[in-house]
């Protein structure tokens, strides 16, 4: 995978998620960053996963469709108007 050797690449790739989640310690972060400066393949993988995580997080913040929100709102109004109290 790289001039630095497949073994080193495998070790780096195994720690990528911890690195991207901010769970890796400073030494591990430096090792990944140093490796990726010399290994274009691993750098591409890191960037690809970073982009993937970003895409998921963006999707998670998209509001629901208006029609769905209207139905949800109507359900709440019906429930609260029913006069039932939450079980205590």
């Amino acid at each position: 995978m790289s001039d630095a050797g497949i073994g080193e690449c495998r070790a780096i790739l195994a720690g990528i998620s911890a690195y991207l989640d901010g769970d890796a310690d400073a030494a591990a972060c430096q090792a990944i960053q140093r490796h990726c400066r010399d290994c274009a393949a691993c750098a591409t993988v890191v960037e690809g996963l970073r982009e993937t995580i970003g895409l998921c997080r963006e999707a998670g913040s998209v509001p629901l469709p208006d029609a769905v929100r209207r139905r949800a709102r109507a359900g709440i109004e019906r429930l609260l108007a029913s006069g039932k109290r939450p079980a205590g």
Partner: protein, 209 residues
């Protein structure tokens, strides 16, 4: 929306703690009779139910029923709440169970399709990719297409269900590793392992769609 990257490499650390505290505050206010807080909490419960139904289970035709169940159970739950800080985990577990039960009630459906977290096991002992997406009604499909990036949705559907749930809970819903472990019923180590594999598979799927 751009994706920020810190010096340590992490992508936009999710505001999970703030979200959890926000839920807990809403639960306390709702339990104390605050109608506005109750309405906001019930809306969130239904939003969670809708997203989970579509993204994890892939069954848009079940979403409305699961939303209704989340609405009623949250309303009842608030009246007997003892640990407001645990509300978020309770909500996602409730929604997951509602999705499973909904699937089980469908006549003639194979039992394995009901299991969100187990899925099929491949030759390597890991969850295998199986298609759990039931045929959607055209109207449901239109809503889904308009709501979420089609490329991402198809890539998510290509994941084994057990991996898809971890990705959705952790990346899209912003639950902590511990919360995901509690909802999925697996260890935190397993959550991290599955999340890493799911990210790699998702990346491959995104490149292929």
């Amino acid at each position: 929306m751009s994706t920020a990257v810190t010096k340590r490499g992490d992508v936009n650390p999710s505001s999970g703690d703030a979200e959890r505290a926000d839920y807990a505050a809403l639960v306390r206010m709702a339990a104390g009779g605050d109608r506005d807080a109750m309405e906001r909490l019930l809306m969130r419960a239904q939003e969670v139910a809708y997203r989970f139904s579509l993204l994890v289970c892939g069954h848009p035709q079940d979403a409305e029923d699961v939303m209704q169940e989340a609405l009623l159970k949250t309303y009842r739950y608030v009246g007997r709440i003892k640990q407001p800080d645990a509300f978020r985990t309770w909500l996602y577990t409730t929604v997951r169970n509602a999705c499973r039960m909904k699937r089980r009630r469908h006549v003639g459906e194979p039992a394995h399709v009901s299991s969100i977290e187990q899925g099929a096991i491949g030759a390597d002992g890991e969850p295998a990719s199986i298609d759990v997406e039931a045929p959607a009604r055209p109207a449901d499909q239109l809503v889904m297409d308009a709501w979420i990036n089609d490329r991402l949705r198809r890539a998510l559907n290509a994941l084994p269900p057990a991996y898809r749930m971890i990705v959705v809970l952790r990346e899209m819903e912003g639950l902590s590793t511990r919360e995901v472990a509690s909802v999925a019923g697996i260890s935190e180590v397993n959550v991290k392992t599955r999340l890493h594999r799911a990210r790699v598979l998702l990346r491959q799927a995104l490149e292929g769609v």
